[in-house]
């Protein structure tokens, strides 16, 4: 039974194109949501299907006409997929403005993939003051107006509050799943990744239903033998070759601070009378992330605290090449882990990466470091 559910996660994670066809054949309209913290609750509430656009592992060809080589490959591969027709049939792409590469993505998309409208979501970085809420709301209003134009669908406050509840429930289930997985070393890093990746493609109510079944079955299962426990941190860590190395070395991810994984699900929405205001407050409440202004770099300490709380043996920094926000944080994270006596290594990854030999060597040494402690 557990395997059957995992198979469903795998299918959604590995074949978003089939999912896209399914939704379209059901008469649904799809809106792509680029990373990070795109207000997909709004999309969902308008009866549209938000599907994550985090790019894909492929060689870049067409997108090179638009990007110099030193722009992150997540962004470049989104355009590559768009130019190659992988997103044909979707109604729009929403891109938030939270890093320089994302700003560039939107500008290039307009010309590289003119058939799919680009919808910007401009967020305030100084997000805590009261006045910043108004600016976030202005961004949401722009998104709503553009979505209405692109899809003909109408926004409703009442339906937004329903969607916020669905997203809150999904958040909670994701957090529960992470905790439960930490107690089950027999579930591989690859399988764990399918759960997260499928969450970006499936409608949240569908994913929640699968998570409930998964949790029920997992709780019945006897926990496997203890492995070395690690916490991963970074933007994206879904490359099968990398996950295979973790599994081959007997490393279990017991918690993560990955933007495409747990960072998405750690902040809930306090649903008040005004759904949009509630959603804006959810954004303002987000913290400990490399693309959000963090004057005291609390992310660094938060990561160390998480690692201690889950009794991790070490921290693995999965650094997406050319990702400034993470590259600036890495030396501070490394120093803080060192000070806390937590082994840490950095593995650089790229959407175009084919050769993982260096990553394998680093992870083997990491394993030895943790074992010798």
């Amino acid at each position: 039974m557990l395997d059957e559910i995992l198979k469903k996660f795998e299918e959604a994670a590995c074949h978003p194109e089939l999912l896209k066809e399914r939704y379209l054949s059901e008469g649904k309209q799809i809106v792509l949501v680029a990373p990070v913290y795109t207000p997909e609750e709004i999309v969902h509430s308008m009866g549209l299907v938000p599907m994550g656009a985090w790019g894909g592992d492929l060689q870049l060809q067409e997108s090179k006409r638009y990007f110099p080589a030193f722009i992150c490959s997540i962004v470049q591969s989104i355009v590559e997929l768009g130019m190659k027709g992988a997103y044909e049939g979707v109604s729009a792409l929403i891109v938030p403005s939270l890093c320089d590469s994302l700003k560039v993505l939107g500008e290039n998309w307009k010309y590289a993939v003119p058939s799919i409208p680009f919808i910007p979501m401009t967020y305030p970085q100084n997000r805590k003051p009261e006045y910043a809420l108004d600016y976030t709301l202005h961004g949401y209003e722009r998104v709503i107006s553009d979505l209405q134009k692109a899809t003909g669908k109408v926004f409703s406050e009442k339906l937004l509050r329903v969607s916020l509840q669905i997203y809150n429930e999904h958040n909670e289930l994701m957090r529960e799943t992470v905790k439960e997985l930490a107690a089950h070393p027999e579930i591989s890093a690859q399988k764990r990744s399918w759960i997260f990746k499928s969450a970006t493609f499936l409608r949240k109510e569908e994913h929640s239903a699968l998570l409930r079944q998964f949790l029920e079955e997992l709780r019945k299962q006897e926990a496997g033998k203890r492995k070395l426990r690690i916490v991963t941190t970074g933007i994206l860590a879904d490359a099968p070759s990398l996950l295979k190395i973790l599994d081959e070395n007997g490393l279990q991810i017991v918690a993560d601070d990955i933007a495409a994984e747990s960072r998405q699900y750690k902040t809930d929405c306090e649903i008040g009378n005004d759904g949009l205001v509630s959603l804006a407050k959810k954004y303002a409440a987000r913290d400990n992330c490399s693309v959000l202004y963090d004057p005291y770099k609390r992310r660094v300490e938060a990561l160390v605290e998480t690692a201690k709380a889950v009794e991790a043996d070490g921290v693995l920094m999965v650094l997406t090449k050319f990702c400034d926000p993470e590259e600036f944080d890495y030396p501070l994270i490394r120093n803080a882990c060192n000070a806390a006596g937590l082994p840490i290594v950095e593995v650089e990854v790229d959407r175009q990466m084919e050769n993982y030999e260096q990553a394998a060597t680093i992870i083997e040494s990491f394993k030895e470091m943790m074992e010798s402690k």
Partner: protein, 414 residues
């Protein structure tokens, strides 16, 4: 044995704009050191942070980007970048940031010393990388960070909601700075600073616009030096006077038919991007040797901050080059190309600057088509000398020259 003959450079004319502008830049560092010595607080400030705020409050601030450019231009870029890399910073990070983080960690830089900060003033209208850099400075030096977020505007016009958001942050920043430094904000003083900044900006815009004359009365590389004053000191009276001197000199050059560009101006180009500071001489000579004058750059437009009141100032700071969408950025450049009779576009694909270079391929294609000029790019970096190839630069500039030359010949023949 042949005796070495050194050319005697004439003593600089203290009444010249060049002298005055250099002195303003130098004095800013001297004043900051003196303030630190007296026990006053000194800040580090990002280049497009509204100078009106520290100037009105009478604060002493230094500009890490200018420092990094100075260090790189004098040969220290690689050394400082390597120090930061040794501390764990990726060599993919902006080289200005690497130089600055190395300096903040205590690495000496005789090329351009400046006092360490007691607070940092950050504005991300130039890039979000700036936030990360200043967060690290703030954390590593245990000092407060004041942050004004001016978001990238995906639309052509600045929405009122953005102006309101920016204005509220300006007012917050003033309050924070009053608390940190004990200095008091005066609206009368602000209006004076605004007047001076406008005066300086008008002179700068008019001076750079004299490139419309053929030949241009100045060498465009002059702008790269003078812009430091526009960035850091445009609210100071001496800056306004120096820029007015510069304007007068350029007008006189035009009237006399002379120019600070040495040699015959055979071709006129626009240079796109931050200067390749470690290779400034090489990049300048590559053009001069072929009779090319870089008559304009977006800096000519970028540092003209003219506004009528506080709200308008907020709007102007949301219109700086890296905060605007492709279409607005493109149209500004098309205007510069047309106004200044530009015949070719040379683009610096700057590895340090993802935002500036990230949509430059498409934008420069559109500029080339609209202005009917050839576009050539080269790979380089604003401060890390390792990211530049002299051979590639030479080949690309030669290619650009040949296209411009053949077009000219066809025009003359036709």
């Amino acid at each position: 044995m042949a005796e070495e003959i050194k050319k005697q450079r004439p003593a600089p004319d203290p009444n010249s704009a060049k002298y005055k502008l250099n002195m303003i830049a130098k004095k800013a560092y001297d004043d900051a050191f003196a303030a630190k010595e007296r026990g006053e607080l000194v800040g580090w400030c990002s280049s497009n942070f509204p100078v009106e705020i520290p100037e009105t409050l009478g604060l002493y601030v230094c500009y890490p980007e200018n420092q990094a450019a100075g260090i790189a231009a004098r040969g220290g870029g690689e050394r400082m970048c390597s120090i930061a890399e040794g501390q764990g910073y990726s060599n993919d990070i902006c080289a200005y940031a690497r130089v600055s983080l190395a300096y903040a960690s205590g690495a000496p830089a005789e090329e351009q010393p400046m006092p360490l900060p007691d607070y940092v003033l950050c504005c991300n209208n130039i890039c979000n990388c700036m936030i990360k850099w200043y967060e690290n400075l703030s954390r590593e030096l245990h000092i407060p960070m004041i942050m004004i977020d001016i978001p990238f505007n995906p639309d052509y016009d600045v929405p009122d909601a953005e102006v309101t958001y920016i204005k509220n942050q300006f007012l917050d920043a003033i309050k924070q700075l009053e608390e940190i430094t004990g200095k008091k904000w005066s609206w009368d003083r602000y209006r004076e600073v605004m007047e001076i900044s406008g005066r300086t900006s008008r002179a700068w815009l008019e001076a750079t616009a004299t490139a419309k004359y053929v030949p241009s009365p100045f060498n465009g590389f002059d702008l790269l030096n003078h812009m430091a004053v526009m960035v850091t000191a445009r609210g100071k009276l001496e800056a306004a006077e120096a820029m007015e001197t510069l304007l007068r000199e350029y007008k006189e050059n035009h009237e006399k038919g002379v120019s600070t560009y040495r040699g015959e101006e055979k071709h006129r180009i626009m240079f796109e991007g931050i200067a390749c500071w470690p290779w400034l001489r090489v990049t300048a000579h590559g053009l001069r040797d072929r009779g090319i004058n870089m008559v304009t750059t977006i800096y000519a437009d970028a540092f003209g901050f003219i506004y009528k009141d506080f709200d308008d100032m907020c709007r102007v700071y949301a219109k700086v080059p890296n905060a605007i969408n492709l279409e607005y950025a493109r149209d500004k450049r098309i205007k510069l190309c047309n106004d200044n009779h530009v015949e070719g576009l040379l683009v610096h694909t700057n590895r340090s600057c993802k935002l500036w270079s990230g949509f430059m391929y498409e934008m420069s294609r559109q500029i080339g088509e609209e202005c009917d000029i050839p576009v050539v790019s080269f790979d380089g970096d604003q401060a890390d000398p390792r990211n530049f190839s002299e051979a590639q630069y030479d080949t690309r500039v030669q290619g650009l020259t040949e296209i411009m030359q053949s077009r000219k010949e066809a025009q003359n023949a036709g």
